[in-house]
Symmetry: C2
């Protein structure tokens, strides 16, 4: 597709404003090889003959671009089959996304019969800036196409894809390849990405994803690429409403995206939070090396207020400024004019000419080498000699290409032109504080390398499967609490000391086995939320109270089928988290972690990850929650705990998911965090 011998455009047109003409003109202007135009009414375009039939073309056809009405696409494919076509791009809409799944299936069946691969249908096409070939119908008068470069863009929305190109071009960011995959009924996102993963000219990948239906396959290819290329993802349909809009758009279901986004985020992929941060982070990746800049930023500004807003925005993303030490401060005080305060940001005042920037920055770099230098220049007075400034920035970069810097230039026409000149030097420019913080955040993402952690746990299925088989034999799709806990114990997850009692006689046996106080919980296949119906009594102090509580509970819950009761030693109050594993329809086995307790759903302090994450990924996942701050730093009576202990619980639950395909969901809530150990107070498992 990217390097065709020749191209035929079926549905080329000479009609002004038509997509067929736009496409033909783009191809003719960009592609150096042979191009054949086909239009059933004949005629010509820019002196080039239009064939009435594909069969009239006196040659085999390598790549076909099809832009005829949906109904005639299958027939067109058939004709291309005779011409040994290898690949066809179908631009036409009117397939699955318009309720014509049948037509799309006919299209694909036909293509398969002839061994033709299909891009689309319902797409905007593709671009390769190096071949070069522009096989889109994007109007070049209305939207810019970037110059040759190293960024590849893959988009599930064609029109949005063209907007990305326009914005990249506007910011002078170079393009390697662009692909609009449309309905992706043959070539899908994963396949394109896999192909580009081998492409040495693609250094950065920007991907727009609405439909995550390719699931684990898509996740894996993105995770693999992100180990050695920079990847930025913009997700459409994050909100429930959004995914409905997506449904009518690409014609496929986008499941709630939190899962997808979390999984990739903890794997080192930058998930942009807006259109603007998507484009800005692509610019950053193209212009700077990836490195953790988050604690070592120095800002030099001629606009104090813009410095303040920038610090606010950085702080929101946990990025902090370098703190100058005493010696640095002393030297800075000598350099910086006496009427200016010294600190970070270094405020040069609005009337700073280039000379002041130069003096301060050169001296600064002599005494310290911040990982990242941010220069804010808002040209507001005549004192600002912008041409000299541009030369200074160029010198600065040439003197030491390792100086990482980003310029922040906000404003109207003059500022835009000024920014453009800086960008021409190959230097990244943020247009506002939020873009800047997105850029730094993206650059600071760490590529993750490491084996799946579960691979280190030995297989214990033999013991555990008995518990599951028993439940299945009894026709249950839920494990009782004590069964789930037995399973957890097999995987070395601690639980309170317990005793399962079928009846009064059993309870007698427990008499000297447990230390009071204890808790008693009903065990019934019919009761899911025990505490809601009074199926739990806490704080039982002695055997007499236990008997009394048991009798009362049986009286109250007589209408349910009762299997018995679970008696457990009470555990002291402490911090509660939850750990859960489940099989997502699209993404397969996933793990979650967060603040525990009954209000989990409202506190929404939760992170999702893959069950086969590496240790580092599990750690990032845990550290993304608010509760992790208390866990790692301690708080009042809670002592700090080692996060790796929780990581190991996540890995154990993951291993359970792997060992038992029979388990659909397993949840520990709460997992109580004590100083010395973690105890699963309540747990449940649901079977397939």
């Amino acid at each position: 597709m990217f390097n065709p011998v020749n191209i035929a455009i079926i549905g080329a047109s000479s009609r002004e404003g038509s997509l067929g003409r736009g496409l033909a003109e783009n191809v003719l202007e960009s592609f150096r090889g042979r191009v054949y135009l086909v239009n059933k009414r004949g005629g010509e375009l820019h002196g080039l003959k239009m064939y009435r039939e594909i069969s009239e073309i006196p040659d085999q056809i390598d790549l076909a671009l099809i832009i005829v009405p949906a109904e005639s696409v299958p027939e067109t494919i058939e004709q291309l089959g005779e011409k040994k076509t290898k690949i066809a791009v179908v631009y036409s809409g009117g397939f699955r996304e318009a309720g014509r799944k049948d037509l799309e299936e006919r299209l694909i069946d036909t293509a398969k019969r002839y061994g033709i691969r299909i891009l689309g249908p319902n797409c905007v096409g593709f671009i390769d800036s190096w071949t070069p070939i522009n096989a889109t119908f994007i109007s070049r008068e209305r939207q810019g196409i970037p110059e040759k470069g190293f960024i590849s863009i893959i988009s599930q929305s064609g029109a949005l894809g063209s907007l990305f190109l326009d914005l990249l071009s506007y910011r002078r960011i170079g393009l390697r390849r662009f692909v609009s995959i449309g309905n992706a009924s043959d070539i899908d996102l994963s396949e394109i990405l896999e192909y580009l993963s081998h492409d040495p000219y693609t250094r950065v990948l920007g991907i727009y994803i609405e439909n995550i239906g390719e699931g684990r396959r898509l996740i894996d290819i993105i995770r693999m690429i992100s180990k050695y290329k920079s990847v930025v993802i913009l997700r459409g349909g994050r909100s429930v409403r959004g995914s409905r809009a997506a449904q009518s758009h690409v014609g496929a279901l986008a499941s709630p995206g939190k899962l997808f986004d979390d999984i990739l985020r903890f794997s080192g992929v930058y998930i942009a939070d807006s259109l603007r941060s998507f484009i800005a982070s692509l610019e950053a990746y193209e212009r700077l090396d990836r490195s953790d800049y988050k604690k070592d930023v120095v800002i030099v500004t001629n606009t104090g207020g813009l410095g303040v807003l920038t610090v606010d925005s950085l702080e929101d993303k946990m990025i902090s400024l370098k703190e100058f030490d005493e010696i640095e401060m002393k030297i800075l005080r000598e350099i910086i004019p006496s009427y200016m305060a010294v600190g970070n940001p270094i405020d040069l005042s609005g009337d700073a000419p280039t000379k002041r920037f130069k003096d301060v920055i050169e001296n600064l770099l002599n005494i310290t080498r911040p990982r990242l230098l941010v220069i804010i220049n808002q040209p507001q007075t005549y004192a600002m000699d912008t041409e000299n400034f541009i030369s200074f920035i160029n010198e600065l970069r040439n003197k030491d290409p390792n100086t990482n810097m980003i310029l922040l230039i906000s404003g109207g026409e003059f500022a835009i032109e000024f920014a453009r000149k800086i960008r021409r030097l190959g230097i990244a420019v943020a247009e506002d504080p939020e873009e800047l913080s997105s850029m730094i955040q993206a650059l600071s993402m760490t590529p993750i390398h490491g084996e799946p952690m579960i691979s280190r746990l030995e297989n214990r299925r033999e013991k555990g499967i008995k518990i599951i088989e028993k439940a299945l034999k009894e026709g249950r799709h839920i494990l009782y609490e004590h069964e789930t806990k037995e399973l957890l114990n097999i995987y070395d997850i601690d639980t309170p000391k317990r005793f399962f009692a079928k009846d009064l006689k059993d309870i007698e046996k427990s008499k000297d086995l447990l230390r009071y106080p204890v808790v008693i919980k009903i065990v019934s296949p019919e009761i899911i939320h025990k505490s809601d119906v009074g199926g739990i009594v806490l704080n039982i102090r002695n055997y007499e109270e236990l008997l009394e509580s048991y009798r009362r509970m049986l009286d109250k819950l007589g209408k349910y089928r009762i299997e018995g009761v679970l008696i457990e030693e009470m555990i002291e109050e402490s911090l509660d988290v939850f750990v859960a594993g489940m099989r997502d329809k699209i993404l397969g086995p996933v793990i979650s972690f967060g603040s525990g307790g009954i209000l989990v759903e409202f506190i929404k302090d939760v992170a999702f990850g893959l069950h086969d994450y590496s240790e580092k990924e599990f750690e990032y996942m845990i550290r993304s929650t608010k509760i992790s701050e208390i866990l790692s730093k301690g708080y009042r009576k809670y002592r700090p705990i080692d996060i790796s202990k929780i990581v190991s619980v996540l890995a154990k639950i993951s291993k359970i998911l792997e060992d038992y395909p029979e388990i659909k969901e397993i949840e520990i809530n709460p997992l109580r965090i004590l100083d010395e150990k973690m105890i699963a107070l309540d747990a449940r498992a649901i079977l397939n």
Copy 2:
């Protein structure tokens, strides 16, 4: 200042690039009255003589603009005194901001002696677009100055102020007045705002605030203005952490910035979350009427993906789309080409010409009148006839000026020019999805009218003051828990039934007064966090256990000074919130509300407000928290409760703050929410 008879510029200069020249040129170009230039070396500028001395000016001077070195400013003021000057703008820096507080005091003392009001020092000046007068040194080559309009901008940062002007001008938003207040050592933000509150040409106010030191006075003037003008605030320095030595949990969350922002937000002021949303919301306020658009937005788009991203961004700000009913859907299906899915957003496809927009929108408006119509037009193919589109939008607006619409146009050069043409029609344009959602959020802010709620509560100080006086007499700056609860009871806030026991003999008296189980809590002036030291025993079942617990507690806490114990009836588990009141150094008495419990500081689900809020404001405050969702909708065993009940607790705590200046902080945490009532389980008060 805004309408001077004549102007003298002290420090005018003919030197290229100097601020003195920039200022003089701006004034000369804009102002129609007499201008005198003063430069101690004499000379001339554009044929106008420069006087060497102020005394040489053959006239009284109404307004003086001073741009000479800081050291000579006081002397200059002295000379202006002789010329009967009424007001002087001091542009010069080098005062307080550079550690020269002394010089600033001399400047102000001198000015006071002559009755001269001062704007500045260290400011960029001011603009009145209607007089007109541009008394800034902003370079007009580098930054745009907006045309005449109805927005006034007040900025605590001069350079940032000039950026606002540049961005407004770029977006063709008209300006009424601009004031850079600099160090504000005489005329401050509150005074300028008070003045502008009477200005009929100022319809919208945009304010940049870093320093909130003017406190309650500033808050009150902004709240007053926001009742009848639109106010947008951009806050710099949000991330600066408060250095409050907080004794309560909530106090630790009360950074000065969060407090200030919350207070104004719940009063109906739009607090912009970025530079871009600041400018965009100003544009929205200038072009559209304020109204609650949050549930009634219809989007028509030619870029499905941009529609999806827009819905995501709206959803983030709780803005939802109109849901078409069955009849509307039926009619829409007839209007919309069959190959397109029907829904909201209405996706017209990337190849939509103006005609398709026109057909769909006109028909849509015939069957339904959404509060807000959002039109997304990304011109990507030649099919998009932009000139026709602009005419269509113009017609649409002229046909019914009540059609509220915002266009969303993203992209590079062509899109920018296209947006500019739309803006020329007086129609608001968002440049990306985030700008659009900020605009709608700003427009949907409701101006608040209503009396302070505390005015409705009768004064009960007489009873309560005895409790406080007793503590003060004993040299305590903290009320014991039972004392605080006594105070709460006086204000009709429920607490558990309690008994305070000094010693064992007292405990005997409690025997038949309380219903078990009870809780016992230590009362000591030396113990603040009772549960951390084992000063609380829960779940005491009977009198014998009570005695035992009492003895054990005394043993364990023997090293503290013990006043006695508090015995209380246990209250069933339920949802916990907190309510607190405190006196902030800058803002005076404030109230807070949020999710309760020991983890308050980490969950950070908290809102702050003024103690003399109206009922509506208290309600907005509560509704801004996450926990309010559970409270108002119910969740599992928790039934929905009436938010007005919590409002009344906030008002009662407010009244306590008002009635007792002696109280510095008072906190109920937790306030337990039961179906029928709310009970303050724990409470404390700190005295001044």
